[in-house]
Each structure stands twice: as C-alpha cells, then as structure tokens.
C-alpha cells in the first residue's frame, strides 16, 4: 500500500487517496495501462476509427452512394501521380473512364488535389452537421479514386470511410444489448443461486449450444435480414456470454467479507447486489465489452458477406467485400480494402481488450 492506496472496508477495492503533495494519484490499473504498449497501439487504432466515424463525410472525397457508371472497377491509384504536368510536387490526378468495351482509358489533363475543397453537400449526425467542405478533393471537373471504384463506379475510399459508422453502431448496439440484458441475468442468477440459477443456466446452455456465428444466423433467419435485425441478432448472441461471465464473477464476489458485512448490517439483497457486488465485477465486463466489439464487427461483416445482413447500397464492409468476389481476378481491390478495414478495427478492439485485462486483472 505504498502507492497511496488503502483498502476501502466496504467496497473491498482499493480507493484513491491524496498523496503528500496534494495531487491525486491515478489508480494502479490506469498507470499500468499507460505503460502498456499494447494499450497504446490499441487506443490509437480505436481513436483513429472514432475520428473517421465522427468526420466521415468531411474526410471522404465523395458520397458513398454516388454512382459513376462510366468508371466502374477502376483499380486503385490509376491516373494518380505525385508529380504535376510541369514537374511540381503534390498529388495530381487525371480522368479515368471505361469504354463500353471495358477498356480503361486515362485522360490527358492533370488536375491537382487540394486540401479543403468545396464539393457535394453533406449532412451528418442526423442533420446536426451540414457543409460542402471536404478535407481534400480534386480542383477540377473530374473525379479521382485513390482506392479505386466498385461495380457501380462508386469511390471505394468514400464507402470504406462511411462504413466505419455502420461497424461502430453494430458494435455499440451489440454490446449495449449484451450488457443491459446479460449482466442483470447473470448477476441475479449468480447472486440468488438455487432454482432461478438452475433454470437460467439451462437457457444459457441452450444459447451457447449454437456455436459462434450460428446463433446470430438462426436469429436472422427468424427475424429477417437487414442491418437492424443483424444488430439485434448479434446483440442477443452476446447475452449468454455476458451472463456467464457475470455469474462466475458474482459467485466469487458473493462470499467476500464486505458482501457478508452488508448482509450482516441488514441490507436487503437486491440493493446489496447493485451497490456492492456489481461494481466489483465491472472489470471483466469492461474487458469483455472491448473483445465483444471485435466479435460483433466480425459477425456483422460475416452476415453481410453471406447476404443476410446489410442490403445494397449500404456501405457495410462485409457486404462490399462480397460484391468483390465475382470480380476477384479482374478487380481484386474491391474485396481487399474493406477486409483490411475490418482487420484494422478488430485488431484495435482486441488489443484494447487484452490490455485492459492485463491492467485490471494482474492475476491473468
């Protein structure tokens, strides 16, 4: 207890006390987290991802839905060069289009790509943000495609940037459903034991009898396809995971002295559960939530890929990837980039989950 922490007799956890110089010291888990390189990489990835979500239409050069049929399946970086017509540095682009025979042709005139250009008007966050300013765009009458285009001539980069919002919402809604339903179920089941526990555990067993993505598939088959149903399905599939986890933690916390003390003081069961037990099983819940975000994003992409999730023209990464399958040999970039985006974000959440586990639970 040399680092400014003393055990709180009731909460059972260490609490922060003032150091001699009067500054509050961060709790031990936070200091452990700050020192961990895994955590830093993970949080940087997630931070980047959140920035992309927040400023998607500003960062994306075009609307994710805007089709340009004369430039379908343009490979990445075609018509893009780092030198201008007179040898100046910068990003210069030329017009790219496909003839009716499928030949790709690149125009003669180069136009510069500039920061902060005016483009198509966009609204974001349910109409709260609206502007025609974009971070970068071509200064000229043509369009450019850093990551190429898909089968409808839509800009892949813009679609991937806009798809981040879909992935984030799937992850958040899934975790919310898992926590809001799974945590109380697991806590009550573990705290009260007996018949309730027995019945709840059999229900959880049943849900866990559908391995991996199968439970979500079963639910989507019942509810119908579409993005909303995918969120609900993947969320329900997360319930047994949280319930099991919380039950196990509650079982171990239940017999601790501070819970006994609360009982001995005559506190009733349910308030004790919420006041003393649940706060002390928060650590595994937080860790699981980060890992669950990763799982949810993978599952939703999987369902999108199978054609059971998001519907065209939604820029969902799994769905975009599946559209690239038919033209894998001629336009491999359509399947490649959305997959990279998925791996990037999922790695981020997995890293943060691992780092949080190391920091919050040093026994593991």
């Amino acid at each position: 207890m040399t680092d400014g922490q003393v055990p709180d007799p009731v909460a059972g956890e260490t609490m922060v006390v003032q150091r001699e110089d009067g500054r509050r010291q961060a709790p031990r888990w936070l200091r452990r987290l700050r020192r961990s390189p895994i955590a830093i990489v993970g949080f940087v990835i997630i931070g980047f991802f959140l920035l992309v979500v927040a400023f998607a239409p500003f960062l994306a050069p075009y609307s994710p839905l805007r089709q340009t049929l004369r430039s379908r399946y343009v490979p990445p970086m075609v018509g893009v060069s780092l030198r201008g017509p007179e040898g100046q540095f910068g990003l210069w682009v030329r017009d790219v289009s496909r003839s009716s025979a499928g030949e790709l042709s690149v125009g003669d005139t180069s136009y510069p790509v500039r920061f902060f250009v005016r483009g198509e008007r966009w609204t974001w966050f349910f109409g709260l943000m609206s502007s025609d300013l974009r971070l970068f765009g071509v200064d000229g009458p043509i369009r450019f495609y850093l990551l190429g285009t898909d089968e409808q001539g839509r800009d892949m980069l813009s679609r991937i940037i806009h798809g981040a919002w879909i992935s984030l919402s799937i992850g958040l809604i899934t975790v919310a459903i898992g926590i809001l339903i799974g945590v109380p179920i697991g806590a009550l089941s573990g705290f009260f034991a007996g018949t309730t526990d027995l019945i709840v555990q059999r229900v959880i067993d049943t849900m866990l009898a559908f391995p991996g993505i199968l439970l979500a598939i079963v639910l989507v088959a019942t509810l119908g396809t579409g993005l909303t149903n995918v969120m609900i399905a993947v969320g329900i599939a997360a319930i047994p995971v949280y319930a099991r986890l919380v039950r196990a933690s509650v079982l171990s916390v239940r017999e601790r002295e501070y819970v006994e003390a609360a009982r001995a003081l005559g506190r009733r069961s349910v308030p004790t559960l919420f006041k003393h037990v649940i706060p002390n099983v928060m650590a595994p819940i937080i860790v699981q939530s980060s890992l669950q975000m990763a799982v949810a994003i993978l599952f939703a992409a999987g369902l999108g890929f199978l054609g059971l999730g998001a519907r065209p023209p939604q820029p969902e990464w799994g769905l975009m990837l599946s559209r690239g399958r038919d033209f894998l040999a001629t336009a491999p970039h359509v399947a490649t980039f959305p997959g990279l985006a998925i791996v990037f974000v999922v790695v981020g959440f997995n890293l943060v989950g691992d780092a949080l586990r190391d920091a919050l639970d040093p026994r593991l």
Binding site: P211, I217, G224, G302, F305, L306, G307, I342, V343, V347
Partner: protein
C-alpha cells in the same frame, strides 16, 4: 467412467431440448404463415393445408411441439421446399463434407498452432515470440471469408497452385481448410504458449532440469504433456466453432457442405432445410463438448469422475 458418461449425457438433455424449442420456434416466430414456410411459398393450397393439419399449426404450441418432436423421432425432418428432397437426405449428403473440411482445418490448426505456441514460450520475449503473438492476434481478428478470398486470388487465380473452388481432391481441401483453421490456429497457439509458460515455471520441470536432463527432453516429456491438457479442451471447443465457421468458408469456396446448404436455404426461405441443418450443427456441437469432457479425464488422471 460409464456412470459419468451417462450422467454427462443426461446433463446435456436440457440443452438438446432447448435447441429443439429454438428450432421449433424459428418457423413460428418468423413474420408470416408457418404453414407456407413449411410447404414452400409457391406450394398449392392443398399442400399448405396438409402442412397445417400435419403439424397442428392451428392448435396450441405445446401440441405443435409434441407433433414436431414426434416426427423428428421417426427421422422425419420434412422435405425441402426448393428441391422437394427429404431434408434427412440433404443432411446425409452434405454433412460428411463439412466434417471433412472441419477435420482438415483442425489438423492444420493443431499442426501449426501447437509448435508455434511451444516455440514462442521457449523463446519468451524474443522476436520469435513477438511474431507468434502478433500472428495470432491477426489470426483472431481476420474475417475467415476475407482471408479465403485473398488466398483464392493469390494461390488459385494467380499462381494456379490449387483449384479455385469445389470439392474433390486433397488439393481442393487445402485452401478452405487453411482459411477455416486460421482462427483456431491462433487461439491454440496462444493457449499453448501461456499454458507452456506456466508449466515451465513449475517445480517438477525445474527438478527434471536439475537432474541433468537435456532441454528438448524436458520440454517433450515433462512440460509439453502437461501443458497440452488445457489445449485439448480449447481444441475440442474450437472444433465446434469450426462447424459454424464453415458456413462462411463453404460459401467462399463453393464447398458443398451443410453451412452452404444452410445459407442457401435461408436465402430461399426453405425452412425445413434451415431447421434440419441448424439442429444437426447444434446437436453435434453438444456431443463434441461431451466428448471433450470425457477425453479430458483420459489424459489427465487427476480429474476423477465422481
């Protein structure tokens, strides 16, 4: 042992019942007329009416459930509304292919995952260890279907080493099995590494070293055997995950297995086949879990079944 096996099977009974209830409810809770789901969208009215009587669809749920289980017990899973084939015949035809794929994936996952984990543990905090750790992180973070597509693009389309899709020779199996097994490989490598690190720090390993045994022997004979016990559990559970992961892999590689059958049937709203495939995968998963429990006792004599 026999007593334990029987008891373990009895404990699994509620799960099987639960699975039956969920599969039963799938058709009843989906928006629309269950009789149409079971007979097919374009079925003549007589067939739809026949379904209604046969499954008692206008009677209370418990009666319906009794009728459903009754027909299941007789091995009657209904007919596909798409092909009019018996569902049981479809399952018989496609399930062995899925098992083949999942076994292939498991073999690859174990053959690469365990050595990778052992090497990482023996060279803790070196570049090798870091590579295995990063590799397994990417392995669990990668969508199987994406890896499958890229592998197909590179090894089949560009290099021409393997057939692009379908099932047949051993060469057909390689890419699907590798993409399916990748996630499990990552988890097994991770598990082996941490389990190995734990065992290497134990007294008996130190004793073995102290009495002058060579490194490799200590690792093989003393450490690995004990380190592998938790790996068996994880591996067994992974096998179940592979069955569901097969849904995605089979779709990528046009592998004629039960996962692809399931997805095609969901798209076509062919509910009898959906019910049959889901039931088969879930029950297989439950049986695998029981088998893992039993194997656990065999390889670790410290566990007693009483």
């Amino acid at each position: 042992m026999i007593q334990y096996t029987v008891r373990r099977l009895l404990i699994a009974f509620p799960s099987v019942l639960g699975v039956l209830i969920i599969v039963f409810l799938m058709v009843r809770l989906a928006p629309g007329d269950p009789a149409v789901f079971l007979a097919g969208e374009f079925a003549p009215p007589e067939t739809i009416a026949a379904m209604r009587t046969r499954f008692g669809l206008d009677r209370p749920y418990h009666v319906q459930f009794g009728l459903y289980v009754g027909s299941l017990v007789q091995g009657d899973l209904g007919r596909s509304t798409r092909t009019q084939r018996l569902v049981i015949d479809d399952l018989r035809q496609f399930f062995p292919n899925t098992l083949e794929l999942a076994l292939g994936a498991m073999v690859i996952a174990l053959l690469i995952g365990i050595p990778a984990g052992v090497i990482a543990a023996l060279r803790q905090n070196t570049w090798t260890d870091l590579m295995v750790t990063v590799g397994s992180l990417i392995g669990v973070s990668m969508p199987v279907f994406w890896f499958g597509l890229l592998a197909m693009l590179y090894f089949s389309v560009q290099l021409g080493w393997f057939p692009v899709a379908g099932r047949g020779t051993l060469a057909h199996l390689v890419l699907p099995a590798v993409s399916l097994g990748l996630g499990s490989m990552a988890i097994i490598a991770r598990m082996t590494r941490s389990s190995m690190l734990e065992v290497l720090g134990l007294d008996y390993v130190r004793t073995a070293r102290a009495k002058g045994l060579q490194g490799a022997r200590v690792v093989a004979k003393h450490a690995l055997r004990n380190a592998l016990i938790p790996v068996v559990t994880v591996g067994g559970l992974q096998f179940g995950q592979l069955l569901s992961g097969a849904v995605l892999t089979e779709t990528v590689f046009a592998w004629p297995g039960i996962g692809r059958l399931l997805v095609d049937s969901i798209r076509a709203r062919d509910y009898p086949v959906v019910q049959g495939s889901v039931l088969l995968i879930a029950v297989t998963f439950i049986l695998i879990n029981i088998a893992v429990d039993l194997i656990y006792g065999f390889i670790d004599p410290r566990i007693r079944y009483d």
